[in-house]
Symmetry: C2
Subunit: 357 residues, 2 copies
Amino acid sequence: MRIAVLGVGLIGGSIGLAARRRADAQVCGYDPDEQVLAKALSIGAIDSAASDIDSAVKDADVVFVAAPVGALAETVRQALAAAGRDCVVSDVGSTKRMLAEAGADERFIGGHPLAGAETSGVEHAREDLFEGAVWYLTPAPNSTGVLYERLHRLLTTIGARPAAIDAETHDRLLAAVSHLPHVLANVLAGQAASTLGGAGERRVPAVGPSFRDATRVAGANSAIWTDIYTSNRDALIPAIDAFAAALGEVRAMLAAGDAQAVTAWNDSARRDRDELLGAGLTGGPVGELRASVPNRPGVIAEIALALGRAGVNILDMALSPSEDNRQGVVALWIGGDEHLQRAEQLIGELGFPVARA
Amino acid sequence: MRIAVLGVGLIGGSIGLAARRRADAQVCGYDPDEQVLAKALSIGAIDSAASDIDSAVKDADVVFVAAPVGALAETVRQALAAAGRDCVVSDVGSTKRMLAEAGADERFIGGHPLAGAETSGVEHAREDLFEGAVWYLTPAPNSTGVLYERLHRLLTTIGARPAAIDAETHDRLLAAVSHLPHVLANVLAGQAASTLGGAGERRVPAVGPSFRDATRVAGANSAIWTDIYTSNRDALIPAIDAFAAALGEVRAMLAAGDAQAVTAWNDSARRDRDELLGAGLTGGPVGELRASVPNRPGVIAEIALALGRAGVNILDMALSPSEDNRQGVVALWIGGDEHLQRAEQLIGELGFPVARA
């Protein structure tokens, strides 16, 4: 099988490595950045380097366009123009409806692997990047079945789990669970800065991890995110509108002082999150422990090591240092009541105050 | 010095322990729950247990009301009625303007220690709970100076860092950095549940840690949070309104497809968060690493131990398991470029793929 990869960064390079080693494919790469292209060749991500899109795509059975979102549509267009009649062209962009025009071509099937980030560099490419990862495919009504089947088989061979979804649903899902959370984090960071500034404070008081967690993705790499925000705005704007409407309902509950409604809303948020994150899959409900620890090197290791030795798996973990960075709170999420009890005991034995949250 | 503590849970019990051991105080406790009161006595959090508020407060120099927010105003009122003329009465509630009526009494000074949670139980009380913690005090214009000074000195003696702030600013700050983030987490969880449900999905696809982080505090303990939301609604509603307005501006940028404005907004959110969380204090800018790890017990320990041995301090950490729980991504925040490089190298040597985010 001959594969062309247009754009050989982290994702494109990993496709090349995986396809060469696992699918015994011949991989030809192209990248507008010659240094990146040379690097991809030197680490074995591609068999050969092409000097332009046409020569890369010529004779290919499968083409992956792994260009940044901003250059995606044009690169896909060029790839389709250069590709043969029996060649499937796909991409790896984070939003899918923007390629609707390409979808009119029966050889195009959009894709989006849920792995890595778009621009982290070919030097981090790995053969197993897609191992077990969901890889969304967005075939259009007129996509060719035999080409879809070829792409699907290749993705399975390199370890991914392809899942068909229509482009609109894909973009709405991603807006709900990724793009909107990024927007909220940004807005919250800006609002806190102006509220604190107005009160003459420069730092967030150590009120707990909520602000830290809620703004963790604030200001994510603009080189990637400006493209994502703008290319998915058709799905993101309705998500923002729905959020604003729901926020308005909460406001009304509060204005009415309706404690019962507030409790019901709060309880339902907990159930929603638990269900969405599959909290039930881990041998029982997930419980949270909070331990107070001095903020010094090695303290996380002590806890994690004690739990690891006892066979207790840490499902999730968050640290919040105190304002002066001298101590902090480690929140740990553990699956199953027995493991939770064991973890609480072990952490207590290490001398750290610990409580269930 | 004689101290009365009304409500001997985690906070009240810790005040008792710290005041007895560090300030050589005589502590009398009262709690409507007799079992809790007996427990506080047995662990040495109080010297004596009173059967009602009046006898607890009689002859006290300082009274701390550590009742749940819902019972706070009434308990403060009773304490003031029973307290002598030279007694300072304070509280530890999360919102402060609700006690405005009490503030008319020159003996009342509101307080809020940024430590622990209100209802985690006296069995977790500790002498050092307030060590290094900010303890907001909200004196009213007519509060007595000598009583303020007594309270301030006592708090310093038990290890806290008292900071005077007016009640309105306190509540606005807490709304911005704690209460609003909780509201957003709840609304986001609910919206994602309905979007995914509409698309026939039950679980959040593994798109990265943003949704997990953004909803971490969703559905926090209703027994505490319904009171907080409703008691601070005067500050929370304007915060919600400001948030909705700022969200509207982002919506407008997106609707206009204004990529330049989106980039500027995103970049400024990053600067705001870095500054608010004091990213500059840690020996250089804070950098983020992301490592892919198998999801098994002990893996966090391996990483944390290697970094700890090398003297690299982990400032913050977040795990995101993959959808099938077989592997996951560990995000690590490290201060200072030298430590960041060292951490990247050490994690790579452990065999985990790692990249700067």
